[in-house]
């Protein structure tokens, strides 16, 4: 589904060129879960940003195979990148995952509404509501559906963020240290739910984490060091 081929990325820092990713290759399919660990500044988030079409590599190819064919992420225009994020990807960050002026339910519904804005065929409202309900129940936050985000605990907020990330059924979910802000108990619960829900939705999960414990929940575990990925 995602094929990363020989991508390299470097930054210029104080006049000095620093290689972050060096001819890195990786591929994974829908429903698979991967974790990437590494030291701070090793390039984990950069890799995630490349997969979310937020940034472009210096060289190499990232292709996405969908039912309609292959898409080259590297050659995306800004509009194409927006469209890609709207339909194919879900993003979960360490913090600031929810819009604070709308309820939990509306937060989860928003990506569905956004991705359906330009589509001729929209999910029926009943189906959408059913889908959101199932997601929220599976993540155990359905009872908070009418609350505003600031009324929830950190763990609950991240669970809602997972629901939001998966609501529009993206083939790929990218999570950047989703449990970085949580205590260990909540971290275990949220990461478990994240992996299980992705599996249930047949969504590929690529998770960047510092936690070995969280990483062990995924099917493939990788470690990024010296700009090179190695399997654990």
């Amino acid at each position: 589904m995602i094929n990363i081929e020989n991508i390299s990325k470097s930054y210029t820092d104080a006049g000095e060129k620093r290689l972050i990713l060096d001819k890195l290759s990786l591929s994974f399919e829908r429903g698979e879960s991967l974790s990437i660990q590494g030291a701070s500044g090793s390039g984990k988030s950069t890799l995630l940003h490349l997969l979310a079409a937020l940034d472009k590599p210096d060289s190499g190819k990232i292709t996405l195979s969908t039912s309609s064919g292959f898409e080259d992420l590297v050659s995306f225009t800004e509009a194409q990148a927006d469209e890609y994020r709207k339909r194919q990807v879900g993003l979960i960050f360490q913090k600031f995952n929810l819009i604070d002026c709308i309820s939990v339910w509306e937060n989860v519904k928003l990506p569905i509404q956004i991705s359906a804005l330009n589509r001729a065929s929209q999910n029926s409202p009943d189906n959408t509501d059913l889908l959101i309900k199932e997601l929220l129940i599976s993540l155990d936050v359905y009872k908070h559906r009418d609350k505003l985000p600031h009324q929830l605990s950190g763990g609950e907020q991240q669970r809602v963020a997972i629901a939001r990330g998966l609501a529009h059924k993206p083939p790929l979910l990218l999570a950047d240290e989703p449990t970085g802000n949580l205590d260990s108990k909540n971290s275990d619960i949220v990461s478990q739910l994240l992996v299980e829900t992705c599996k249930a939705q047949n969504t590929a999960l690529l998770m960047v984490t510092h936690s070995e414990k969280v990483a062990q929940l995924t099917e493939q575990q990788w470690y990024l060091e010296n700009a090179v990925l190695r399997s654990i």
């Binding site: 937020l54 927006d82 960050f93 819009i99 509306e106 928003l110």
Partner: protein, 853 residues
């Protein structure tokens, strides 16, 4: 002194260029606006005083003729001086244009004033002056500095071929003359007589005047009559009694302390200008609040580090207050220079305003830069320190190690406080509007009206926005989110929104007032200008026969000035033909008359049983319809009693006026003539030809009614140019304040926007939604401002205009005008916030994600 912190403070400027620029520009606008208004006010005051005081400051009394039957003559002057009244100084004045090579140089006529300079010079050491007490003498000498200077100048010059003129007026005349007749122009009168050599004299009391010796004036205009005999200095009561006894019956000794009315007129102008400037200044302070907020916001991480390093909160606050003071000082220095330039730019408009409103000519004042700096810096410093208190207090709270206050409790407290403020402002406003008459108190009442509106806005802002959310269809999820976000933004932009509300309210109020005034003036003029043509003349013209021969109907109208109580009033004849009856525009009729029996009113008027008075007469002197007034008969000057039959509109006239039947006037004693002519264009052509054949060259004085209407409305529009300008500046300043607040908000809402963008919403759409939020906030503020703007217009018309100008008119609520203010306000806001929005939109999403996470 925390020197390392000061280093950090200056280093922070590199990272807070925008907030610093905002802070400095708001301080500059405030300082420049304030300086300009102070300069304009001061020079207008000086010129007006010079006009009123007849060039010499310490003139308490003057001798003038009782009425127009017998003028003050040179023989009267000579006999009084022979009788020992050597402190009298004769003055003659005539208003003329100046020519060079037969071409007219002046747009407006210039006062040519002849003064008996020898008498003025000699009276400086007169026994009367010396006999005054020492204290009195000092005051006298100080006040009379201008007179001394003038006298000494004439004493030195000594020749009748020299005259004194203000340098600015001389420069403008020279420039005009050079354009017309090349360098080294020779100034002449209309009939080619050479003017005395003009000497520039930097004396504030010289406005649009040329001062010369009496001999020089008579050399130029021999027919000029003496205007007055001035009694210089405070003469003791027994001296005044002796003078009164020595006066012939046709002369009268008048005290000049009766110019209260005139000084009230100028003070109303100053007060209006000052109120507008203060409004702008206050709105500027709102920017200062927001800009300092923004500055603190940028510095917060460093300030926190400073705190961790052990620098006390008090020290941090003091240094930042000192910083505000320092920035204010720099802004004031630059602002004063800008203010001087602004005042120069505004000078022609101010001249037009004063001329149109008060019929005085503004000259050129002398400004003390040190006084001006002290005034501007003092006001700005107090304002800025006050404006800094709120953000600094907030900062103090943020830097405090103690636990933050409960947000919900704090909100509830402020909600109650806002309600309390509303009640206080509303009660003060209502009391002042109903029970006081002093103009400055009424202006405070106006401020209370606006501030009460501010409180209403603050209380209802979130409620109104929530209602708007309900109106947005669910099929527009992003718009709904955006509108919901604006509810929380409204809490963060309170101060900026208040500034915008104040600017919008005053804009709507002023626009509606000016529009109502314009409409009332236009319809009044259209109705009043019943004839087809008008001739204005200072001398009586024999036109009846020529007019009849040319198939024209001509009505002669006379105008006199007479003393009534302490005021000078106009007596104006008014024809009572059918056409002129219909042309009369009444504010109020005596209760016994109505539109059905109006002919009875005209019958009483015709028979001199009653008179009509303008609003300025009735409101200014406290008369009502059916009151009896004793005023001098226009021909005989004897006091006669008349009944007030009605009060008429008379916009733009600063004088109290009575309309009387023509038969009461004697053409030989009338000072001003108007001829109203009815007839076709062909008839008027025949009439002009006949006039030329009869050697009456008044073709240029014949004005068509439409032209007169156009000129009057042009004068009206010129009068309100300053108001319009200040309105737009206020709006711009308010929008800048909003921009400052928005920049702070943009940092706060960055995570939210990042999130929306990460869902695949384009940068353009995200910024459009942000623009929608801010425009929505302004739109709601405008909606709240509308009823308060209308209320403000009503207060301005019924109270402020009534007290300042002694006239009032119906309020005209023009939806087009309100829509124009809406459009203008939103355009200004969009213009100001578009730059930070575009800047934010250009930032790549990845940068936001990195920064936020």
């Amino acid at each position: 002194m925390p020197w390392p912190f000061i280093g950090v403070l200056f280093a922070s400027y590199r990272h807070s260029k925008f907030s610093l620029a905002m802070l400095m520009s708001s301080l500059l606008i405030a300082a420049a606006g304030l300086s300009a208004v102070l300069i304009i006010n001061d020079s207008a005051k000086q010129s007006y005083q010079s006009n009123e005081q007849f060039l010499i400051a310490n003139v308490q009394n003057q001798i003038v003729s009782v009425d127009n039957t017998k003028a003050l003559s040179r023989a009267d002057y000579a006999s009084l001086r022979r009788a020992g009244f050597t402190e009298l100084v004769a003055v003659a004045q005539t208003r003329r244009h100046i020519y060079a090579d037969g071409k007219r140089l002046t747009r407006r006529s210039i006062d040519h004033t002849g003064i008996d300079t020898f008498a003025l010079y000699s009276q400086l050491s007169s026994p009367v002056a010396l006999s005054a007490s020492k204290e009195h003498q000092l005051a006298y000498e100080k006040q009379d500095e201008n007179a001394v200077l003038l006298a000494l100048d004439f004493g030195n010059v000594g020749s009748q071929n020299q005259a004194i003129i203000h340098p600015t007026l001389l420069d403008s005349l020279s420039a005009e003359a050079e354009e017309l007749s090349g360098p080294r122009p020779i100034f002449t009168s209309a009939d080619g007589r050479l003017l005395p050599k003009l000497y520039a004299h930097k004396n504030a009391s010289l406005g649009n005047d040329i001062i010369m010796s009496m001999a020089a004036l008579y050399g130029l205009y021999p027919e000029t009559e003496l205007s007055a005999l001035l009694l210089i200095g405070d003469a003791p009561a027994n001296r005044l009694d002796a003078l009164k006894a020595a006066l012939p019956s046709h002369l009268n000794l008048q005290s000049l302390n009766n110019s209260e009315q005139d000084s009230e007129l100028t003070s109303s102008f100053h007060l209006n200008l000052m109120a507008m400037a203060l409004l702008m200044f206050v709105v500027c302070l709102f920017i200062v609040v927001n800009a300092i907020n923004l500055l603190m916001h940028t510095r917060m991480p460093w300030l926190k580090i400073c705190r961790q390093l052990g620098i006390g909160r008090k020290q941090l606050m003091l240094v930042q207050l000192a910083e505000v003071g320092f920035l204010t000082l720099i802004a004031c220095l630059i602002g004063i220079v800008l203010g001087l330039e602004l005042a120069k730019l505004a000078s022609p408009t101010v001249q037009a305003t004063l001329e149109n409103l008060y019929q005085v000519e503004v000259g050129y004042g002398q400004i003390s830069l040190i006084t001006l700096f002290l005034q501007v810096f003092g006001i700005s410093l107090v304002g800025c320190i006050t404006a800094s208190l709120l953000p600094l207090q907030k900062l103090n709270q943020n830097l405090s190690s103690t636990k933050a206050v409960d947000e919900a409790k704090s909100q509830a407290f402020w909600h109650k406080m806002t309600w309390a403020c509303f009640v206080v402002f509303a009660v003060i406003g209502i009391i002042l509007l109903n029970f006081v008459q002093a103009l400055w108190l009424l202006l405070i009442a106006t401020a209370c009206v606006i501030l009460a509106g501010c409180c209403i806005l603050l209380i209802n802002y979130p409620l109104a926005l929530r209602q708007i959310v309900k109106l947005i269809p669910k099929s527009l999820p992003l718009l709904r989110v955006s509108t919901k976000q604006s509810v929380s933004l409204s809490g963060k932009t309170k101060i900026a929104c208040c500034a915008f509300f104040i600017a919008a309210t005053s804009n709507i109020g002023m626009n509606l007032m000016v529009d109502s005034f314009r409409g009332a003036t236009f319809s009044w003029l259209e109705q009043r200008l019943a004839a087809d043509y008008y001739i204005y003349s200072n001398t009586a013209l024999e036109l009846d026969d020529i007019a009849k021969a040319s198939d024209l109907v001509i009505h002669q109208r006379f105008e006199n000035y007479t003393q009534f109580g302490k005021r000078e009033i106009q007596q104006f004849s008014y024809p009572s033909t059918q056409r002129f009856q219909k042309a009369m525009s009444f504010y109020e009729l005596a209760p016994q008359y109505s539109q059905e029996n109006i002919s009875e009113l005209w019958h009483a008027f015709e028979n001199a049983n009653g008179i009509l008075v303008n609003q300025q007469f009735a409101f200014g002197m406290g008369y009502e319809v059916n009151d009896k007034v004793s005023i001098p008969h226009p021909s005989t000057g004897k006091l006669s009693e008349y009944n007030i039959l009605g009060i008429i509109y008379d916009f733009g006239n600063p004088s109290a006026q009575v309309l009387m039947p023509i038969r009461l006037f004697d053409p030989s004693t009338t000072s001003y003539f108007i001829y109203s002519i009815q007839g076709s264009e062909a008839s008027i052509d025949r009439f002009t030809q006949s006039l030329l054949q009869n050697d009456i060259d008044i073709e240029k004085q014949i004005i068509e009614t439409s032209e007169l209407l156009r000129l009057s409305m042009q004068a009206f529009d010129d009068t309100f140019v300053i108001t319009d300008g200040l309105n737009i500046v206020t709006l711009l300043v308010a929008a800048l304040s909003l921009a400052c607040a928005i920049v702070v908000i943009m940092n706060d809402v960055r995570p939210q926007n990042m999130l929306i963008r990460s869902l695949g919403v384009s940068a353009f759409k995200t910024q459009f939604l942000a623009l929608f939020q801010y425009v929505l906030l302004c739109l709601v503020a405008l909606i709240f401002a509308t009823p308060f703007g209308i209320l403000l217009a009503w207060v301005l018309i019924t109270d402020i205009n009534y007290q300042a100008f002694s006239w009032t008119y119906p309020l005209l609520i023009s939806l087009a005008k309100i829509a124009k203010v809406y459009a203008l306000s939103l355009c200004v806001v969009i213009l100001v916030i578009i730059v930070p929005l575009i800047r934010a939109g250009k930032r790549p999403l990845i940068n936001d994600i990195r920064q936020v996470n």
